[in-house]
């Protein structure tokens, strides 16, 4: 049981650390498009790993295995790129980018 607790604690703290890093990225970066990277990657993986830790925790509570937290992880990983894409589209539409060289004419 101690091993299981260690694994759960490790994943919880690692996940919280990743989520914090995502927010630090959101706080520190200077431009909208660089701010977009922290939340889409670090926060998604962080909260995903916390959900997995929760699944492990409830599976060892003695009421049979509990896997439905995996759904949260799955959902986050599917939706994060989509919402990032929509936000980037909105920001491009509002002409928030500075360097336009790489953007081909529309």
């Amino acid at each position: 049981m101690v091993v299981v607790e260690c694994i759960i604690s490790f994943f919880l703290i690692l996940g919280a650390f990743f989520a914090l890093t995502g927010s630090i990225g959101l706080y520190r970066m200077t431009n909208f498009f660089t701010r977009l990277h922290g939340p889409t990657k670090a926060t998604t993986l962080g909260v995903g790993s916390m959900a997995l830790a929760s699944a492990v925790y409830f599976s060892f509570q003695g009421n049979g295995i509990s896997l439905h937290e995996v759904l949260i992880t799955l959902f986050l990983f599917i939706t994060a790129p989509v919402s990032a894409h929509f936000l980037a589209k909105a920001a491009l539409h509002l002409r928030m980018h500075k360097n336009t060289e790489a953007l081909p004419p529309r």
Binding site: T21, I24, R28, G38, K41, A88, A102
Partner: protein
């Protein structure tokens, strides 16, 4: 696309998207968090009914030509790159001087034409190292990607094309 063109008793008509049916059954069983006969029946009911009613939104189904390669791509390339990407983003975010970053837009010319595969590619790019797919041009030939730290644009485009686009093109054979 419309059901009444097809013969009455055919898999095409009643099970337009078998993979989606399977996914829906699995998701239902995960959601109720129990495996019992009643829930399996209810899951199959949803798995058949939902693709049937939403059929018009999914005109074509993705053809997976090489399922083994898909599994290898998912576990070998994709999951590994998610971890690498996150460590990378953590390192770039926490470094003391963020003004050294070279954020850049890059234009990735696409070889694949299938909409479904393009959206899978865009999602994979968003989740993996330092890049977020931002926009696709109206003719669906060029994907515009924003990178957090791109010292060499040509190399970044080459990496995306060889590492993600080529395997996806092979897996979905398009």
């Amino acid at each position: 696309m419309h059901n009444h063109k097809k013969p009455f008793l055919s898999a095409q008509r009643w099970l337009p998207h078998p993979l989606m049916t399977l996914m829906l059954i699995i998701i239902w069983l995960l959601l109720v968090n129990a495996i019992s006969f009643g829930h399996i029946i209810l899951g199959i009911l949803f798995g058949v009914a939902i693709p049937w009613f939403t059929n018009r939104f999914w005109p074509e189904r993705p053809k997976i030509a090489k399922p083994v390669q898909l599994v290898r791509f998912f576990f070998g390339t994709f999951l590994r790159d998610i971890i690498v990407a996150n460590l990378n983003v953590v390192r770039l975010t926490l470094q003391s001087d963020i003004s050294q970053l070279q954020p850049e837009f890059i234009a990735v010319p696409l070889d694949i034409a299938d909409q479904m595969v393009i959206s899978i590619l865009a999602s994979v790019i968003s989740l993996t190292p330092g890049t977020v797919s931002a926009e696709i041009t109206l003719d669906r030939r060029v994907l515009i990607v924003h990178g957090l730290d791109i010292p060499d644009q040509k190399a970044a485009v080459r990496t995306i094309k060889t590492r993600y686009e080529a395997p996806l093109k092979e897996i979905f054979s398009c």
